[in-house]
Amino acid sequence: MSTKSLPSACARQSLAANRPSSGCPKASPVFKVGGGSPRGGPHKMDALAPGWSAGLRLLSLGRHSQAGAFPPGSGPAHFIRSSARQPVREENPRRRRPGPHREGGGGEAAPVLRRRVSIATPEAAAIGRATGSGSGGRCGSGGMLAAAGLPLLLLLLAAAGPGRAERDALREELLLSPLPDGDVAATFQFRTRWDADLQRGGVSHYRLFPKALGRLVAALGVRELHLALTQGFWRTRVWGQPPLQAPAGAELWVWFQPTVTDVDKAWKELSNILSGIFCASLNFIDSTNTVTPTASFKPLGLANGTDHHLLRYAVLPREVVCTENLTPWKKLLPCGSKAGLAVLLKAERLFHSSYHSQAVHIRPICRDASCLAVSWELRQTLTVVFDTFSSGQGKKDWSLFKMFSRTLTDACPLASQSKVYVDISPKNKEKELLEVTPPPATVHEAIVQGDKRTYAIYDLLSPSLFNTSRSLNVQLKWKRPQDSSDLPTPILHAQRYVSGYGLQTGEISTLIYNTHPYRAFPVILLETVPWYLRLYVHTLTIITKGKENKPSYIHYQPAQDRRRPHLLEMLIQLPANSVTKITIQFERALLKWTEYTPDPNHGFYVSSSVLSALVPSVIAMKDVDVEQSPLFTSLFPSSDGSSYFVRLYTEPLLVNLPTPDFSMPYNVICLTCTVVAVCYGSFYNLLTRTFHVEEPSRGGLAKRLANIIRKFRGVPPL
């Protein structure tokens, strides 16, 4: 029984189109999904529910009900097709129907339902295929689906039974922080937490958690998955430490379960599937750009062992991120981009920015403080940096509308928390440089990344927010124009470049700055260099303040041509207030002529190196409650109060390799082949072919013998 994808986007769009304009979610009472104990008991379906929504719900439910364990051997293409997210769930929270129905009480009705659905789904799939899978213009099928779903509604009524509910909760957050140089960073985070164990395979009903990712986790034995697609480069020196770091291009790192026997195979399969889900070129991840770091990447979630053989890490620095990656990312959100904070995610504006990074993090976490059970957490984050200078003609004031050309009108009805944070921390000890309108209801003080920050909080779920105006348009004005050009430098930042000239050798230099006035701290540097830059490890020098700095840990894995890249991991102590320069020389290999990219003179990318450090904070940090902390620190828990974890990515490098002139050989080959084929070939043929009349020979002794035998047998002779 194979599941087919419903045109879920279409259903959602039809939902949106049919939604009353008075704002149904806004009018409905706030619904706490994650809070409280789940409602058990037999499910009562309102028989008089509006046909279209009930039918849709039914279809989605049916699809969930009949979804068995994902066959592990099935190919990626099939899996991609079958793993589209289910359509929008509960339109009206009052008619909430928790729990899966497989283990439900209606034992006889369930098979019937399953059979009917398996009949019905091919039609739906056909419609989905006919109307296209990703683009608009398929909204007409929603009505047809609804019509097909109506008879099933009655069946469902019989099938409804008591279900064991698993809590899932969605929290959406938006953090707006003015950066030191005047730009504005907007960081979205959508956290879906699900109190179900995905690995057991018994999970079939997906509510808020996207099914595509959930089944991926279950089928491929993924323990942790971190995927980031980034366009641009976070300039740590002028923008400060980012809330969530990502290298330019695509980054994927995955911890697999210890039960996975062939990690490489699972990794390959996973990258291909993700490539399909996110429309990214992740299928270009192969052994030549995959490494297994030993120290840089630790599991961020619940883990009972850190055997790094279960880790795979790859970066594609060339990946260009654009709307085709954003759309599937938005589709994973429970509310899509129809309600809540996600309405701001307008691609046209998001890509009119200085930096765009979107990420998906899946990890297991403790369900509660006792940590006896596992919950799964999905974080979808998106960071955008808006250049207020170019858009605002030199003024550094901004507003939500200016940045996103939309304002917030409501929270996602499925979210249990929906908040907007604005960083209004005073800079340079001058208080109240910023003025925020509308005045925030609450102000939160937190210590984030070693710095004391003040946040204005707008809770979209509180009814008082939309009392005065129908929409929330956060505005920020600088009371005094910023005039100082000395920006606060972050404690840890780095720079990487290729030095030297010529096409034979070169040198990769990394400068790591520690601007902390009195504390030294260690940093783990991870360099992944493609094989065609042949590193000379004996030229590795680490110099701090004119003296050689011996790393206390070095892990080096040499490259194998066309198989695997160089991997260099070092633990380096950075003295206080110092610059550490790390250089390593390389030689540029000459590739085979088929190995060059179509644009070889553009150069070849070397992915960013990764710096992981526990940076001592300038001010003492309180031990904050990780789960309740509103911001983004909770992805990297701090070990103690005195330091915080920072991961930095340096610039990717563009290295020119010796490139043959591809135009000349092309012409020569074409011309030569033509000449040879046409002229020489025919002439040679004419000149060397000899024509002579073949005499019917009587053949040798063997033939004569054979003919004699044939004559005996009555067979015509040879």
């Binding site: 620095p317 150069g603 990717p652």
Partner: protein
């Protein structure tokens, strides 16, 4: 240089500002101030391209020294920076660089940017970097009135930027109606007349001279070592009637930067070796390199000849060696008069080849029912040497070039032999040398190709031209060429060519005393020489072709 003001202005424009102080101890005192220590500061602002990872960059550099020398350029650069900052289409970072002390500052900046130290310039300060620089434009405006733009291409050691960059500039000049010159010479509209040709020749020779000097003709010249295509644009006030306002100049620069910004790859697959008779025409390496190649071939053949002699003498025994020493002591130098017959014969042959096709065309149209244009095709099949003849003929109409040939010939021929001994750092010396040889050999007007001309026939026919012409290059007479080759029935054409070439090489390699004219001795080939290639060398270590 007002460093603080520049920094502040650039910061207000929204650039990422950096400064780079540098100092250099000169080996000799400065001409103007008589100082040994030069200190300066480069200021530059980086315009970070949105959503780009700082992997590629473009540079607009403006030299700025004390005084109001280049103030206009600084102003224009700042205006451009302010305009560029507001645009969203940049895919490469743009570095706006104000360098002090012209070339010194530029070299300091480039070395610091690429983290190499070639000239012991000390520089300090943290540098902002923006990845691999793809192209650079240096801007100099001598006054606020610009009537024309002069473009300088010659870099350090005669290196040249990619021709496409120059084409880009030329295209934008034409689009915006700017008057642009090269070597300070305006292009002429007519191409066929003799004065136009002389004009082009002059321009080309100026470029050859500039390249041969090895000096960069502007700040751009230092970029070329780092494989950054760069040109210098100089705004000239030549007191013409029509002037250009800064908007036109700015538009041109903006257009160039946008074009460079749109490049997916580095500039490549165009010409890196060329000579420019005007801004819109060039002489490609494909035209002048074969000639140079044949000059080098002479050396190879000579070396082959010597090697064969060596093997001969080894087998021959000691008394032959002794005889050879005896014989070489007696031989005398040929005179200049000996040059005349080969020259006359060569040029007569050239003239014949030049005019015969034309005559043949007439004859063909008279005797065959074909039109004139078709007759050319017939003739082309008949005479492969139409172009050969024209080449030869045109050398005759330029006596200066020919005169240079003869007088500079020893140096010219020795130059290639020095080539492998001088490890030229970037291959640039090779280029300038090649240009030198090129200037002497291919100054024919019909090779001033319009761009985008597929010059296959020139390329392919050049060898013939050179083989025929080589005897006229050499100073020693070529009796083998003059005399009827009675004894050479068995020898192949290849042997002849080798002999000529060997002769061409052998004489200038020796010290060249002022010779007394002496008539060439008749050539009497020994019977052994008429044999195969292996037996080509005559006995007694004498090359019959090379010694008179």
């Amino acid at each position: 240089m007002p460093v603080a003001w520049l920094e502040k202005t650039m910061w207000t424009l929204g650039l990422e500002v950096h400064r780079q102080p540098f100092s250099r101890t000169l080996p000799f005192p400065d001409e103007l101030r008589e100082r040994y220590m030069v200190k300066g500061t480069n200021v530059y602002g980086i315009l970070r391209a949105p959503r780009a990872a700082s992997t590629e960059a473009l540079v607009l550099s403006v030299p700025c020294s004390e005084g109001p020398h280049n103030n206009q350029a600084v102003g224009l650069m700042l205006a451009l920076a302010s305009y560029f900052r507001g645009q969203i289409y940049w895919a490469k970072d743009i570095i706006f660089l104000v360098n002090e002390h012209d070339l010194l500052g530029m070299e300091a900046w480039l070395e610091a940017y690429h983290d190499v130290n070639l000239t012991e310039i000390q520089s300090s300060g943290t540098l902002g970097r923006a990845g691999a620089i793809q192209a650079a434009i240096a801007l100099e405006l001598s006054s606020d009135v610009v009537t024309s733009f002069d473009v300088a291409v010659e870099g350090l050691n005669g290196q040249l930027p990619n021709l496409d960059l120059l084409n880009l500039f030329h295209a934008f000049c034409q689009k915006n109606g700017l008057l642009c010159t090269i070597q300070g010479k305006l292009p002429r509209s007519d191409w066929d007349s003799l004065p136009a040709f002389a004009h082009s020749l002059q321009t080309l020779l100026l470029m050859v001279l500039a390249q041969a000097s090895g000096q960069p003709r502007g700040d751009h010249g230092l970029f070329l070592r780092y494989r950054i295509e760069a040109i210098t644009l100089r705004g000239i006030n030549s007191f013409r009637q029509y002037k250009y306002d800064m908007t036109t100049v700015g538009k041109t620069l903006e257009g160039m930067f946008r074009k460079l910004n749109n490049l997916l790859e580095r500039l490549h697959q165009s010409y890196f070796f060329y000579l420019l008779p005007s801004l819109s025409r060039f002489v490609s390496i494909g035209v002048y390199m074969p000639a140079f190649g044949f000059l080098i071939l002479v050396l190879i053949l000579k070396a082959l000849d010597l090697w064969m002699k060596l093997s001969k003498s080894e087998t021959g025994g000691s008394e032959r060696l002794w005889d050879a020493d005896h014989a070489t002591g007696e031989e005398s130098r040929p005179g200049l008069l000996a040059l005349v017959p080969p020259l006359v014969i060569c040029h007569a042959a050239g003239l014949a080849l030049y005019f015969l096709p034309v005559l043949g065309q007439h004859v063909a149209t008279q005797h065959f029912p074909v039109s004139e244009s078709e007759a050319v095709v017939v003739l082309l099949w008949g005479h492969g040497g139409v172009w050969v003849g024209r080449d030869l003929e045109e050398h005759q109409i330029h006596p200066p070039a020919l005169g240079r040939d003869t007088s500079h010939q020893p140096r010219l021929l020795q130059a290639p032999s020095n080539l492998p001994l001088n490890p030229s750092r970037d291959g640039a010396a090779t280029a300038s040398l090649a240009n030198l040889g090129q200037a002497l050999t291919t100054l024919t007007p019909n090779k001033f190709l319009p761009r985008s001309h597929l010059n296959l026939h020139f390329f392919s026919l050049k060898p013939f031209h050179l083989i025929l012409w080589l005897p006229s290059l050499i100073q020693s007479p070529s009796p083998a060429f003059l005399e009827p080759l009675e004894g050479l029935e068995g020898a192949t054409i290849r042997t002849q060519g080798a002999c000529w070439a060997a002769r061409a090489g052998c004489q200038p390699m020796a010290s060249f005393p002022p010779t007394t004219p002496s008539p060439p001795k008749p050539f009497s080939p020994p019977p052994a020489w008429a044999g195969t290639w292996g037996a080509m060398s005559p006995p007694q270590g004498q090359d019959p072709g090379c010694s008179p």
